[in-house]
């Protein structure tokens, strides 16, 4: 131990989050992340198409188990994520403040909203079916039900500017309804996403349910959009209209469900629109008991 009291600086290595593990990019690349004033913050891993492929394999593998959990249980798990995020709020406030160039107070507000958003969506887990599902009237001795089911493995391009609140707001509704996701995080502000991954890894979210790729959406998203084993793609964070159009076209190949980008006020109450985005309706006939 040095007696002077001077410590060696311990810097954090920001890596990807795939299948519950934190690997570096398969490509070995990384890129510099700067704060809002252009000062160096950290190096982040720059994901490649093969990382995206691996992430999708992990998401697909996790889908069976996650979608089979009861909605009530998924709600509890997402609530647990909110608990742990709350426990690390100082770190998140720090990263959001530096990354997004907010005041301390504003950053605290963003973290508060993010925790509340998780709690809000956690509560919806076992209620969304009552709202978007239905018991349909039919002319015969049958019950006829329409039930929402998760779409599957969902690729998401997270918002570029709102690196925590925006991310949580696109992530939570897809996950709580039983989907597994591959998220391409904000390129310029990726750090809160990786710290959120650490929260997810230590909460009760099974590995592979959420996978985070830091890197360029323009590079990775086309591979996810054309991937035949991805069931839906959320283009919320795609700012380039040309790219969004191209992604939507490639997504048509296997009839992926597509959510188009558009302006969003992340601080406003979101409504259940995003919950319904990645649900498929299954309608079943059931004979009335004898």
């Amino acid at each position: 131990m040095p007696s002077s009291g001077e410590r060696i600086e311990v810097r954090k290595t920001y890596k990807l989050y795939i299948g519950g593990a934190f690997p570096r990019s398969e490509s070995g690349r990384s890129y510099e992340v700067h704060d809002s004033k252009g000062r160096f913050l950290a190096n982040a891993a720059q994901a490649s198409r093969k990382d995206a492929r691996d992430a999708d394999v992990a998401a697909r593998k996790a889908f069976g188990g996650w979608s089979a959990k009861t909605a009530y249980n998924r709600g509890q798990v997402v609530y647990r994520v909110a608990e742990l995020l709350e426990g690390r709020r100082i770190q998140f406030v720090d990263e959001v403040q530096r990354g997004e160039g907010l005041s301390r107070r504003q950053a605290e507000r963003v973290v508060d909203l993010s925790v509340d958003r998780l709690v809000w969506y956690a509560g919806w887990a076992d209620k969304v079916a009552q709202v978007v599902g239905s018991a349909n009237p039919v002319a015969g001795p049958y019950f006829n039900f329409s039930l929402p089911e998760p779409t599957g493995a969902v690729a998401m391009v997270a918002p570029e500017d709102s690196s925590l609140l925006g991310l949580v707001s696109v992530l939570a509704p897809a996950v709580v309804t039983g989907n597994t996701v591959v998220v391409v995080t904000s390129y310029s502000r990726p750090l809160p996403a990786i710290t959120l991954s650490e929260v997810l890894a230590t909460s009760d979210v099974p590995g592979g349910v959420v996978n985070m790729l830091t890197g360029s959406a323009a590079e990775i998203a086309p591979w996810l959009a054309s991937h035949m084993d991805v069931n839906a793609i959320d283009l919320t964070g795609v700012e380039d209209a040309e790219l969004a159009r191209a992604l939507e076209e490639s997504a048509a190949q296997n009839l992926k469900r597509v959510r188009r980008p558009g302006p969003v006020d992340w601080a406003a109450e979101p409504g259940i629109d995003r919950l319904a985005s990645f649900l498929e309706t299954k309608t079943v006939w059931h004979p009335i008991g004898i």
Binding site: D56, R60, W223, S226, H227, D229, S250, Q253
Partner: protein, 320 residues
Amino acid sequence: MTALLPDVAEVTSSDASLRRFLHGLPGVDQVGAEARAAELATRSIKTTAKEFAIDLAITMVDLTTLEGQDTPGKVRALSAKAMRPDPADPTCPAVAAVCIYPDMVGVAKQTLGESGVRVASVATAFPSGRAAREIKLADTRNAVAAGADEIDMVIDRGAFLSGRYLEVYEEILAVREACARPDGSEAHLKVIFETGELQTFDNIRRISWLAMMAGAHFIKTSTGKVQPAATMPGTLVMLEAVRDFRDVTGTMVGVKPAGGIRASKEAIRYLVMVNEIAGADWLDPAWFRFGASTLLNDLLMQRTKMKTGHYTGPDYFTLD
């Protein structure tokens, strides 16, 4: 290795002389074999080389189902897949063979017809090999009579591990005889060592020579029922053995790793090893096979990825 051509008759005249010969084979450098296999696994095979390797690997697959729950329906479905692995792409080659239990040979033969895909049947009380010699031979004759083109026999590991080498040798000879058909032709004989039970690389080298001297057409690593199944270093020792055997006798013997090879990447590593250790002559379905079931789908997915430029998923290939 510089073993001189053994006088097979003399070597196999007694248990003692066979033991002297087998134990006189140079020992395998275990660390060296593992390092060599690991080194060969790092070769980068991309683009056109990868396309070539994937198509070659598909033609080398012995598409296998060896389950107690196999039904005629499943064997028919598997046989159909063997002939046309990718129904969406007529340029996709057929696999080498289907590998099944003896009672399913007739079903497979009926489906495969004259397609050129061969029927390989396991025999000799597969997978344990724990039965009387007459039963093993009857098992083999039965499969051959039903139309099997290839017989995958298991050696008596108990006899081998307790040093009764001559017994193992004679059993392989007897099974080879049982592979004969009335018209004078014979079914090809693959000899399964179950390397996962043989403990050492020295044992793998010894059994390889023993089986080749007894007239095996193919030497095969494992049944797939014991872990570990095929490993790169274990297969490397066998590839060295077939290379050396051809050097001293002029007879070429094939190699079949089986069990545990599930990804295209692994299959390509094996092909690199075949080329580097045994030589390019073995890069042919007549001389090298993969015993596998899930490997084929991964090869097809990789093939589709290379042809279409986008990733595909298991939803688009059959479950088997």
